[in-house]
């Protein structure tokens, strides 16, 4: 037969020589492996060894940010980057509770004037028809170095007028050799507010803000018209006059609202109102930049303590100290470095870590400086002590790891659709049914089973820490709990059954039809592994009252569809606060915010005229006893009406390594890193101690390999000693 491929044989021949060389190399490699194991640095270090003792914070992100544009971003995981890069007029105090605002870029808190129908200043907030905010900003604040701000000797922007041919040469932001900066002025704040209306930006809060900021909707309409006329040319927002926000002088601007909206103050602490230089829009709108991912979404430009030096959302986000950062002092009251200049940490590196397990294990190995606790690693880290309080497991405590617990300003609940003929409406019978269900469904058990106790049972709509929320042993919902011998106890199932009978469903049977009561619960599914258990649990809870429960679990989008059309009966939902004001929770029950009728955020479509009236007053009143009284009345009303089964306020557990200082759990402060400090020396020693190399498996492998070699050699010898006659003729024996 023709023997093809002799060239392969030749290759094999050459390969032998190569292999023998490689073998030497390999032995050398293994030697290195062992030698290096004995000293210097751990083998599983995922970072370059030159950074071993660098003052760099290591963090992880599971979902890459979709945008770092301050006008667009509205998620917590993006906020942790944006709030370090951009700064806002106001910010939350790092240490104070209840939460309080303090000026950041502004000189002081804004001056607010309430105006009556004639546009004259008034002190009566309830009668006021509009308001205006005057904000003075601090002079002498400069932007981070950025090519968009680079100017030549004539003062002309260097990179503002690139031709398409020139633009092609730039593939990433570091290709621009020149950078520049300029002072922050009031124009930049106004420009950003105009951006909220821009159809090219698509800000998520435009809908909400157009109801508050004067003239914003009008500006939008004008911009859209311009877009229709010239779809290709980018908008220059400076060309549009805008009465909603105006510059008064270089360091002062005024925002005018079409209603008295005292909560607007809190919005000034959110990234939507961060300053934005117009030069950036000019720079990024140049042809071809978007296709190189050179856009404001990926290359931000701010005044904050850090600037983004590398943005690879696939793997790594790297931030370095902003050289132009204005002077800011660490607040008094911090354990370390109080009163010194911030930031203390020189650089931040966030690695993409999609899976929770490597993230958690790397934290334990010392490669991440902070970590939350997932429900799968909860038992490994936390145990409840005799008083029922969570504590770190001894193993972690011995390593010096610190635990911080904080209740988040958010609530999860089971809502009733107020428009549903069975569970909804102000009818006392429906109210009794809702109250009976509220008693029967034991959310405390939910917290224990599904959250490892990381939740606080909700008594009403307001989480603790929000102004006006009541805490203490007397702040319980009297319709679900009662006090017996000084202890608050859930009302008994018998009471729930009694209420159910009064509602017209004795023992779960509808008296009118004689048929068993069937209810439907809608859940937005996120394909969790223990979903089956969750559904079984809900079914069991309803079965306590002999009510059959049907669970409709759909994707998040379908769930939203159902809420929009009111096609739900009971649903599971939650709300994460925008700002720590009771208004931000109570507006979820305000009638004119109804989802079905008005497209607002009141997804249970609750409607109560008393509540609505009190809401209007409450939302405008100054913080004081009068406002507190209104809030108490409103909470009592909804507790009785029970439009929600008050679920729980989530509690977050945060772990940090012993070499991390000044960390303080504050769910509203996203840029806590600017206050924090590190001890890289201690971190390096800990990493060495925690990652000792196991050598024995290598010996074991070697031994096995040797054993196989010996067997082979033995076989080889045996075959050589055999007589050649038995080899080939019948083709039975081995070849050699």
């Amino acid at each position: 037969m023709y023997c093809q491929g002799c060239w392969i044989a030749a290759c094999v021949d050459k390969g032998y020589a190569f292999l023998s060389k490689l073998r030497e190399q390999f032995i050398w490699l293994i030697l290195i492996f062992f030698l290096s194991a004995c000293h210097h640095q751990p083998h599983n270090n995922p970072y370059p060894s030159r950074d071993d003792k660098a003052n760099v914070y290591y963090g992880a992100f599971s979902t890459p940010p979709k945008t770092l544009d301050p006008a667009k971003s509205y998620t917590v995981n993006e906020a942790q980057f944006i709030s370090l890069i951009y700064e806002t007029p106001l910010e939350y105090h790092y240490l104070k509770r209840p939460w309080a605002l303090k000026p950041l870029l502004a000189e002081g808190l804004p001056q607010i004037r309430y105006l009556d129908a004639q546009g004259l200043p008034t002190l009566d907030r309830l009668k006021a028809k509009s308001s205006e905010y005057i904000i003075h900003i601090r002079p002498g604040i400069y932007y981070q170095p950025h090519p968009a701000l680079a100017r030549d000797t004539q003062g002309q922007l260097v990179y503002a007028h690139l031709s398409p041919a020139q633009a092609q040469h730039y593939h990433q932001i570091s290709d621009f050799t020149q950078t520049g900066t300029r002072e922050l002025t009031a124009d930049d704040f106004v420009y950003e507010i105009k951006r909220l209306a821009s159809p090219q930006v698509q800000s998520p809060i435009y809908g909400l803000m157009s109801g508050h900021i004067m003239d914003l909707a009008h500006l939008r309409a004008r911009l859209e018209m311009q877009m229709q006329k010239n779809p290709k040319t980018p908008l220059d927002l400076r060309d549009y006059s805008f009465s909603g926000a105006e510059v008064l002088d270089r360091y002062t601007y005024r925002i005018r609202l079409s209603d008295p909206y005292p909560q607007f103050m809190y919005w000034l602490a959110m990234s939507f109102f961060a300053p934005y230089p117009w030069e950036a829009d000019r720079f990024y709108s140049q042809p071809g930049f978007a296709h190189q991912n050179i856009s404001i979404d990926w290359v931000p430009i701010g005044t904050g303590p850090y600037q983004l030096s590398q943005n690879n959302p696939n793997a790594l986000l790297q931030l370095i100290k902003n050289p132009n950062f204005h002077r800011e002092k660490l607040p008094q009251g911090l354990a370390h470095y109080a009163g010194e200049e911030l930031p203390k940490i020189q650089g931040l590196e966030f690695y993409s870590e999609k899976e929770s397990i490597p993230r958690w294990n790397k934290f334990l190995q010392g490669y991440y400086d902070q970590s939350g606790i997932g429900s799968d690693s909860f038992d490994a880290a936390i145990a409840y002590n005799a008083q029922g309080l969570p504590e770190l497991k001894p193993k972690l405590r011995d390593q010096g790891i610190k635990l911080q617990i904080s209740t988040e300003p958010s609530i999860f609940y089971l809502g009733f659709n107020w428009q549903d003929p069975i569970v909804g409406g102000a009818d006392p019978k429906a109210q009794k049914l809702r109250q009976a269900l509220s008693i029967a469904i034991d959310m405390q058990e939910y917290i224990q089973i599904f959250l490892n106790g990381r939740g606080q049972l909700a008594q009403g709509p307001l989480p603790p820490g929000i102004w006006g929320a009541k805490t203490g042993s007397d702040a319980f919902n009297p319709f679900i709990f009662k006090k017996e011998q000084g202890q608050v106890k859930r009302r008994s199932l018998a009471e729930a059954q009694k209420l159910l009978t009064e509602a017209g469903y004795p023992n779960g049977i509808d008296v009118k039809t004689g048929k068993p009561l069937k209810l439907t619960l809608s859940i937005a599914s996120d394909s969790r592994i223990d979903e089956g258990t969750l559904y079984t649990w809900f079914i069991q809870q309803f079965a306590k009252l002999n009510i059959e429960l049907n669970i409709e679990s759909t994707t998040y989008n379908r769930f939203q569809d159902k809420l929009n059309s009111g096609a739900t009966q009971i649903f599971f939902s939650g709300w994460l606060a925008d700002y720590p004001d009771p208004e931000n929770f109570l507006f979820l029950l305000y009638g004119p915010n109804g989802k079905v009728k008005y497209g607002g955020e009141n997804i249970s479509n609750y409607q109560n005229a008393d509540f609505d009236r009190e809401y209007l007053a409450m939302s405008r009143l100054r913080k004081g006893p009068e406002r507190q009284a209104e809030i108490d009345r409103m909470v009592a009303e909804v507790q009785e009406d029970a439009p929600w089964i008050w679920g729980f306020y989530p509690v977050s557990f945060q772990l940090s390594q012993p070499w991390v200082f000044n960390n303080h759990a504050n769910p509203l402060v996203n840029n806590a890193l600017k206050y924090m400090a590190l001890d890289p020396e201690q971190r390096f020693k800990s990493r060495l101690a925690r990652n000792k190399l196991a050598v024995w498996p290598l010996w074991l492998m070697g031994l096995t390999l040797g054993l196989i070699m010996v067997c082979l050699w033995y076989l080889h010898r045996q075959q050589k000693n055999k007589k050649p006659a038995s080899i080939s003729i019948k083709g039975k024996g081995p070849l050699c």
């Binding site: 037969m1 023997c3 093809q4 491929g5 002799c6 392969i8 044989a9 094999v12 751990p42 083998h43 599983n44 995922p46 970072y47 370059p48 979709k66 945008t67 509205y74 159809p199 090219q200 998520p204 809060i205 435009y206 809908g207 296709h291 190189q292 991912n293 856009s295 979404d297 990926w298 690879n312 696939n314 793997a315 690695y351 993409s352 870590e353 899976e355 490597p358 790397k362 190995q365 490669y367 998040y556 989008n557 939203q560 925008d578 497209g599 955020e601 990652n691 190399l693 196991a694 498996p697 067997c711 082979l712 076989l715 080939s728 083709g731 039975k732 024996g733 081995p734 070849l735 050699c736």
Partner: protein
Amino acid sequence: MLIYLLRKILYAIPVILAVNVLTFMLFFKLNSPDDMARMQLGQKYITTEALMGWKKAHGYDKPVFYNTQASSWHAFTDTLFFEKSVKLLIFDFGLSDSNRDIGQDLKTRMGPSLAVAIPSFILSIVLSIVIALFMVLYRNTGFEKFLIVSCIILMSISTLFYIIGGQFLVAKTWHWVPLSGYMPGWGQFKFIILPVVIAALSGLGANARWYRAIFLEEINKEYVQLAKAKGLSGFQIAFYHVLPNGALPILTGVVVLIPSLFMGSLLLESFFGIPGLGSYTIDAILQQDFAIVRVMVYLGTVLYLLGLILTDLTYSYVDPRVRLE
């Protein structure tokens, strides 16, 4: 030869078109533009106006196949299908739903994917061939039986167990390599060694058995008997005769896979946090970013067809008896 190639490419075009239409239908049936908008816009204060705005900004507000408002040929080009699907054909991938240029992302992610895929591909083939040759060399001995049983055992273990077990022992318990991550340049050795070994190991059993069958067939041919009669040793026969001749069927089976190496490995990359195209695909599926998924489907198809053509080419190159016409 050239004509053959041309014909093959012409044949590939309707296949690519069919895949294109199929995926377009599947993904738009699956996820209406409304769903995509909602997915990307987040959860709060979403008005219908905002949804419309998003769709307009991303070009999802156009009619699907035929635009009644546009004039002449714009009626066909100013449509969703043309913008989102036909443009793929000229490798204009456009922006993902989260506003990143897909072409750029593909470029940056290709490196890590290949860094894992190529070494594991080569290691797997070399190891399998060596073991297969051993099996043939030591035919009908206990050693062969041992190897065969090992192979069957190796191929009876799910890849998941290799990955989970390997990561647990090597990375977590023994601290030999980092748990996950990637670093470009020379630092990547410690990140990719474990995935590479696992990938090679998990394919070893099936491949070695397959190659063994090929070599066995070869060893029965007359020229081997002749070589034996000449007095060549078993090793010589195996390496100089059986291996080169058996390489042909192995090559044809293997070449078809080479272009697909670009696609990366879904499982390995997501387990070991390697920012390659495999994990890109998985993330896109989980985040329902179908702009990316469509691109990956299209790329996979093109690479597969490329593999088929490459196979034919190598066949004719290695075996002079085969002519492509």
